[in-house]
Amino acid sequence: MRWATRAGVHIDRAACAWLIRRFIDAQAQFVYVDEPGQVLDDATPFAMPGVDLSHHTGPDGDTDCSFETILRRHHLDDPLLWRIAQIVHEADLDDERFDAPEARGMDVVLRGLSMTRTDPEVIDLTGPIFDGLYEYHRRAALLGHEPA
């Protein structure tokens, strides 16, 4: 399947791309556009203003980032993914809704990568990082404390 997102990959789009490839569509192909109007009919748009799989603010004023929205729409209730969602949320929205100290570091790493690499490269490079984050939190959950 084809998935379309906005050019300029940062934390939310990189995390979404990883989530899509790893948990929704292993064969996902990503295309990068400048605005929703350029998305071809056969592609599912995500993480850009004006599409469903993106930021959403509830009546309580709390905003979900695109990663959280995709988790909800695809009924992915794995608590480890929701832990990663907290990191992505804080790195992206920085509204201090969650305690996710990793967020600042992830934000800086992704901003730096966006300066030195192309969008497809950023997505390829960050995949293993999110795999590692997932494994770290999986072991932490099993052990009940921080893993080695």
């Binding site: 300029g8 940062h10 203003p49 930021h55 603010t57 009546p59 004023g61 920085d94």
Partner: protein
Amino acid sequence: MLLSYRVPREPSGPRIAVWRKLKRLGVAQLSDGLVGLPADARTREHLEWVAQEVRDAGGQAGVWLAEPTDAAQQRRLAADLSAARAGEYTAVRAEAEQARTLPTVQRRRAGQRLRAELGRIARRDFFPPPHRELAQAAVRALLDTGAVDPQEVPR
């Protein structure tokens, strides 16, 4: 980069949520319903999300790449943003100086809290005023003097 927006008065929830986001972003208020930030990929993305949020709440919004017709306007805007941050840095510095007389543990805690606050201000600081360094120094002094008192360490 400008955001023009109009959020319905009622319900007040979305209006307050938008206001909070703009405050966090450190925008310059040009007039009622018109705010600006220096243009870069990040500020553009943030303003576009806010615009979408306004539309989702039944309001109207647009994001514009704008250029003032004279350099003085641009300078005034930068000066306004710088002055707004200077006020925030000054408040942190005053708090830090007040906390210096607190006992060690509270002083450290105040230092950590103010360091986090400095980080929040720095993230929306596009034209750093000299007040920034003064505030940083005041918070650093708070943390430096927060070394553990040997009396407090159990034998």
